[in-house]
């Protein structure tokens, strides 16, 4: 029996970690002691099966999970998302076809789709000219002649409803470190837009203008400018008050700055060029559709690593929220989409809100968005009101992530790297759910954005993923 460690305790300073009753820590501090308090919650919310999975994984695995996660982290940090151009979905998106409509989130059938997603599907069908009226489009969507598939199954992502059809122009973002690409449509602006389920004539008309005029202008300007290094730009916007998901004002401004000198050189009528620039300027969220595919090609590089429990996808379709793990390729783990706890635009309230929807949570999956909340003081009202609340949100995310980003940094945290690479074990163990920023769609198709806020993902999706992971890898 060796008492050395006890003697060391007696001769040193008592430094406690307190788990449970907070007053025990407060008392120690009152007596001049040192204590950190753990806001403890039952692991996995007390779910016996998930706790057993956690214990099984910590007892031993068939592969080296830590090494696999380290590899996933290495790939995420080494990724170099770069905007290489704009193409037409049918030409560039893998598997894209005239009868295929891609949507946000995990797989969902027409009959289970929420209002905004149905509206966007109807709009997509009208845009493709597959039907002449909304009624016809709806009938076609329900007929089984149209195929639906998640954007995520085609190296793509889409905000809100995330509908992508074959003739839409898409950003092409390439991960220069690993050669994989990701795709995303161009942002249509606010108000009545397809991604919020609007399909009126003005919506379709704007989409056509984007394809016929805006996309070629941006594409030509980009060709003159050369590729855009998104990693550098995202690193910059985090130091300019954006967090990369709900606030995109700095990012959109940078894109305009980068492209404007080249746009004005294009051999097109001035009115066209001006209209394009005005369109970018009027839409703070234009940059989101560049951030999303950048995040997508970044985490995609870490997908499919045997034995890694890093989350490589989070996405919602308005009916379900789903995640995928690196070490369980091809499997979705889902739970019901949450109700967003948010602030509302004038004239709207919680009764108008659709459930959580969109692939934009790919930003949090890659370590920005809600995870970088501390970088965006302008929108702290979403998380409680003070910059300290935002800092607390970010600090909490370090507890469920495997790494700190070496490129994306937060000035307010002394340029600490953003919490990056979510470890599903840590989520289940601590009950700390990823902090997700999001916009709120109106529940009726076609009305648009009604607010923004924070959403809680369904805990069971993480537990189910962990249990499946333990079934495959625990010994």
């Amino acid at each position: 029996m060796n008492a050395d460690k006890v003697l060391k305790l007696f001769s040193g300073e008592l430094r406690a970690v307190n788990e449970g009753l907070e007053s025990f820590a407060e008392n120690l501090i009152q007596e001049g002691g040192k204590a950190i308090h753990v806001e403890w919650r039952p692991p996995a919310g007390g779910d016996a099966k998930a706790i057993a999975a956690l214990d099984a994984l910590s007892a031993g695995c068939s592969v080296d999970v830590e090494a696999a996660n380290a590899e996933a982290v290495r790939r995420i940090l080494a990724s170099k998302p770069t905007v290489v151009g704009i193409g037409i979905a049918a030409d560039v998106v893998p598997g894209m076809a005239k009868d295929l409509i891609l949507h946000a989130g995990p797989p969902v059938r027409w009959e289970n789709m929420c209002g905004p997603l149905r509206g966007a599907v109807i709009g997509g069908i009208l845009y493709e000219g597959l039907a002449a009226t909304a009624a016809e489009a709806e009938a076609l969507a329900a007929s089984g002649k149209i195929r639906f598939d998640p954007c995520h199954h085609h190296n793509a992502v889409g905000p809100m409803a995330g509908v992508m059809t074959s003739s839409m122009p898409v950003w092409i973002v390439e991960n220069k470190a690993f050669g994989n690409r990701a795709y995303c449509t161009l942002n249509e602006g606010l108000g009545k837009v397809l991604r919020y389920g609007a399909y009126s004539a003005e919506v379709i008309e704007r989409l056509r203008w984007m394809a016929s005029e805006l996309a070629p202008i941006l594409s030509e300007a980009l060709a003159l400018r050369g590729e855009l290094d998104m990693k550098t730009i995202i690193a910059q916007v985090l130091q300019m008050g954006d967090e990369g998901h709900n606030r995109n004002r700095a990012g959109t401004s940078i894109v305009i700055r980068e492209l404007a000198p080249h746009i004005v050189l294009l051999d097109r009528p001035k009115a066209q060029l001006s209209k394009a620039l005005a369109f970018l300027n009027a839409n703070d969220h234009f940059f989101l559709n560049l951030t999303m595919p950048s995040a997508k090609c970044t985490v995609d590089a870490a997908a499919g690593i045997e034995g890694s429990c890093i989350i490589t996808t989070m996405a919602r379709n308005g009916t379900e929220f789903g995640i995928r793990l690196s070490g369980l390729p091809g499997r979705w783990f889902t739970g019901p989409s949450g109700v967003v706890d948010g602030l509302y635009l004038p004239g709207f309230g919680p009764n108008d809100a659709a459930r959580d929807i969109g692939d934009s949570v790919i930003t949090e999956t890659s370590g920005i968005g809600g995870f970088a909340m501390a970088a965006a003081p302008a929108i702290v009202k979403f998380v409680g009101g003070s910059p300290k609340d935002a800092i607390d949100v970010t600090l909490r995310m370090y507890e469920i992530t495997a790494a700190e980003n070496d490129a994306y940094q937060i000035p307010a945290l002394d340029f600490r790297g953003t919490p990056t690479a979510i470890d599903v074990r840590k989520v289940v163990e601590t009950g700390i759910l990823p902090a997700i920023n999001t916009g709120i769609a109106h529940k009726e198709p076609g009305i648009g954005m009604v607010g923004a806020g924070l959403v809680k993902p369904p805990e069971n999706a993480f537990r189910d993923a962990l249990i499946a992971f333990a079934e495959k890898y625990a010994q």
Partner: protein, 535 residues
């Protein structure tokens, strides 16, 4: 009715505006509230809502509009005012109490890589898992939680032992490490007595008395109730603690307080005390008197344990010399053993005015070990004492909530605490019980403890004075007199303060004795002295 108020050229972020609107919408009499910049879209919305079109059309997107629809003028005014207040209101400085919080033990350990003790008070079902995590991370553990299985306790203590770590608990309520009180503990002077205790309030009583006798405590290590009592646990924590205290240069005296250990374990424990070579005192609650052995003195009660330890700390090298220096003829002097005549004199005064029907001792305890000590003393002196802590099922209270005959009630028992805070934290249940005993004409004397220090209620004396007053008044109304005898376990440095608590009790006519032992002796003596004797 509607009102539109405009502030020109005043830009606010839309999120702040939405937040302001949300606050106003909840106000009484407010039907609709829009607080927004006058963008074309918002102007259109406000026109649709019926606000003044001409005025709205004149606004620019840099103007801020507050549009309220309310039931009456007063509500309009209040809501408008609130909108502007909300936008200019300075957020109160965040209350930075200085306590750093994290969401997981892993994160806490990352924050303080030198952390060395985990204090765990999570629900029992999860406690072993958390303790295992802490031990695996190399931390000593104080496991406050109860309802941990014996198997888990043994496994945790084996793990701790293999790593040379202290596993205090499960069900460990009290410890003092490096002068810092953990969980339910008192602010005790630092000194040279190292205590190992399997009982929380026993440790509190002994450490406070040591403080009052002018000595101090180097370390006080709780082990949990099963550590010594259960042969399978085998005193794993106690023995390691004694080994460490034996080697600790700051500790010159050892003290052990526990219920009677399993025979094999007792032998091991006493051997470890002998091996230490340091003057030691052991007190096993309720055990028959036992002669001292070498450097080990066996104390008969908590007070004697503290007194012997204090004598050792003061320089007495052996049990024999310590005992020789403890005088028992100096009256009710807290620094010495009580003189029987002094106790008898007090008892006869208190018993003089009692009514003939007042027959029974009623002990109302918040501290389990203190209740046990009183029970053993009363059982020995009076015989036939009921208790919910009784080991003899014949004398177990049929209903712990109703006293019959002589009764010592441990109000910290699960029967009383299911879904309620422990009476040391919330003394309301005891106050009610005091009043209840006061209504029983057969109650002859109320005996009670008062445990202060960290963890306990901020003013336990204040919480029971009203009930004491009622109980005594009820006895007097029946033509009797109700003595209330108490002791306060605590020190002057405790947050509640020893003297103040004593004064509050004495103001009600309570006789506050300097230890639980003496309080019990006096209460027993009063029963013996009550008019007509103990028939």
């Amino acid at each position: 009715m509607k009102r539109l108020t405009v502030r020109k050229d005043a830009y606010y972020d839309s999120v702040f505006l939405m937040l302001a609107a949300r606050g106003i919408k909840g106000m009484k009499g407010v039907r609709e509230a829009v607080v927004a910049m006058a963008t074309a879209m918002n102007v259109e919305l406000l026109v649709e809502l019926g606000f003044n079109k001409a005025e709205l059309k004149a606004l620019s997107p840099n103007d801020m509009a507050v549009a309220i629809e309310a039931d009456d003028e007063a509500a309009l005014e209040a809501a408008t005012q609130e909108a502007f207040d909300a936008l200019t209101r300075k957020k109160a400085a965040a209350a930075g109490a200085g306590l750093v919080k994290t969401g997981s033990m892993a994160a806490a350990l990352k924050l303080d890589e030198d952390a060395n003790v985990a204090i765990i008070s999570v629900p029992g079902a999860y406690a072993a898992r958390e303790a295992r995590k802490a031990l695996t991370a190399g931390l000593h553990v104080m496991l406050f939680s109860d309802n941990v299985s014996l198997e888990d306790e043994i496994a945790l203590k084996k793990l701790a032992l293999s790593k040379g770590l202290l596993m205090m608990g499960p069900d460990c309520g009290t410890a003092i490490i490096n002068g810092k009180p953990l969980c339910f503990a008192n602010v005790v002077r630092r000194g040279s007595v190292g205590i190992v205790a399997a009982s929380g309030t026993g440790l509190q009583e002994v450490s406070c008395l040591i403080d009052r006798y002018g000595a101090g405590v180097s370390q006080a290590i709780g082990t949990g109730g099963r550590d010594l009592k259960n042969a399978a646990v085998g005193g794993m924590t106690s023995i390691l603690a004694i080994k460490a205290l034996s080697a600790d240069p700051a500790t010159t005296v050892l003290a052990v307080v526990a219920k009677p250990p399993a025979p094999d374990v007792a032998a091991k424990l006493i051997q470890a005390l002998k091996d230490s070579g340091k003057p030691s005192v052991a007190h096993f609650l309720g055990m028959a008197p036992r002669p001292d052995e070498g450097n080990v003195a066996f104390a008969q009660d908590l007070e004697e344990a503290a007194l012997l330890a204090a004598r050792f700390a003061g320089g007495d090298p052996s049990p024999a010399s310590a005992r020789a220096n403890i005088l028992d003829d100096s009256g009710n002097d807290r620094y010495n053993r009580p003189r029987p005549q002094a106790i008898q004199a007090l008892a006869s005064t208190e018993a003089a005015s009692m009514a003939p029907g007042q027959r029974y001792l009623r002990g109302l305890y918040t501290g389990g070990t203190l209740a046990d000590e009183a029970l053993f003393l009363a059982q020995r002196a009076l015989g036939g004492v009921y208790s919910n802590n009784h080991t003899d099922s014949a004398w177990l209270m049929a209903d712990p909530k109703l006293s019959v005959g002589h009764a010592i009630v441990d109000l910290g028992d699960d029967v009383f605490t299911a879904g309620k805070p422990h009476p040391m934290i919330d003394p309301a249940a005891r106050a009610e019980r005091i009043a209840q005993e006061g209504r029983d004409p057969q109650t002859a004397v109320i005996l009670m403890d008062l445990v202060i220090g960290y963890g306990s209620h901020p003013d336990p004396a204040g919480a029971c004075v009203q009930a004491i007053r009622e109980a005594r008044a009820a006895a007097e109304a029946r033509g009797g007199y109700l003595p209330v005898i108490a002791s306060v376990t605590g020190t002057a440095a405790d947050p509640q303060g020893y003297a103040g608590q004593v004064a509050k009790l004495e103001a009600e006519g309570v006789i506050v004795m300097p230890s639980n032992y003496r309080a019990a002796l006096l209460a027993i003596e009063i029963i013996k002295h009550r008019s007509g004797g103990n028939r």
